[in-house]
Symmetry: C2
Subunit: 162 residues, 2 copies
Amino acid sequence: MRTVVCVSMLEHLNKEIGKRKAMDAEILDQDIKAKGLKVTIPRMKVLAVLSAEKDAPHLSAEEVYNRLLAMGEEVSLPTVYRVLAQFESAGLVKRHCFDGDRAVYEIDDGEAHNHMVCVCCSEVIEFVDSVIADKLQRLAAYQGFTISDYNLVLHGVCAQCK
Amino acid sequence: MRTVVCVSMLEHLNKEIGKRKAMDAEILDQDIKAKGLKVTIPRMKVLAVLSAEKDAPHLSAEEVYNRLLAMGEEVSLPTVYRVLAQFESAGLVKRHCFDGDRAVYEIDDGEAHNHMVCVCCSEVIEFVDSVIADKLQRLAAYQGFTISDYNLVLHGVCAQCK
DNA sequence: CTCCCTGCAAATCCTTTGCACGACA
DNA sequence: TGTCGTGCAAAGGATTTGCAGGGAG
């Protein structure tokens, strides 16, 4: 994954800090506990897999499950779904439906960001843009609409695939 | 549905023209024929239901199916799915996954627009904004990413629900 | 010790497909 | 007449749930 910063370096810094925090196993466990969830092996491992940002940080439930199997962890697929759902409610992970087919999950570092998804290689490029965010707020306010969350996904062809 | 125009009156006019065109039954049939599809009753009726913009113009396959039943049309659910899929390929309708649960369909008037979806009443407010569209093009270009399509959905609470 | 969490299996939901019949060109 | 479109039933895949046993606090 490539993370792109387009507007402010401050946003970039905040994001990196969030990532670093999220990668620390102890803190991850504390996050689980802080949400009133017991710190169990499946929960720790699921969060660990999603925090391992070397490769795709956007994993489907089944992909998470497969990574766990590869790690030698004995976790069932329903548990992965349950844990992910709980983490989403707890604000620890974010769920996206890029294609409407299967959902993908990523660590929720608290910062809203958007995605470009390559239709060829499925690579995901994240980006933030405060101009767009501000504009959306204004457009919503104009409608008397209060934004709780928004999804912005670009589909197209990435640089490598051209 | 309320349609909101935020930037240019030209966009608004174009859209209204598209809507009016889409509501004319004969032209709808011609659209079907123009795509190399036979003009059959299920196809005409599905397009008619989606073109009736009095109420929600964003219908799931099952909702389309129910409207057809209410109209006394004998159409099967698989056929509705098939027709909608064909129409999507033909560019007559657009498919969206607002919540990732069930897909919804709307007439594709050729103009890209975005959606605000109320989490309370499910009302959908459409809006267009060329500033955002331009900004996205620039952001994508900066990445060497060619946008083929994009989805922007705001979730939140609409004015009525407050 | 008690309640929460998990695994297993089965169920559910939306959506798609196989097949044979009927309709339009 | 041949191909395309449809209905029906069944399959398919992702996700959820019921239940009983096991583990965390």
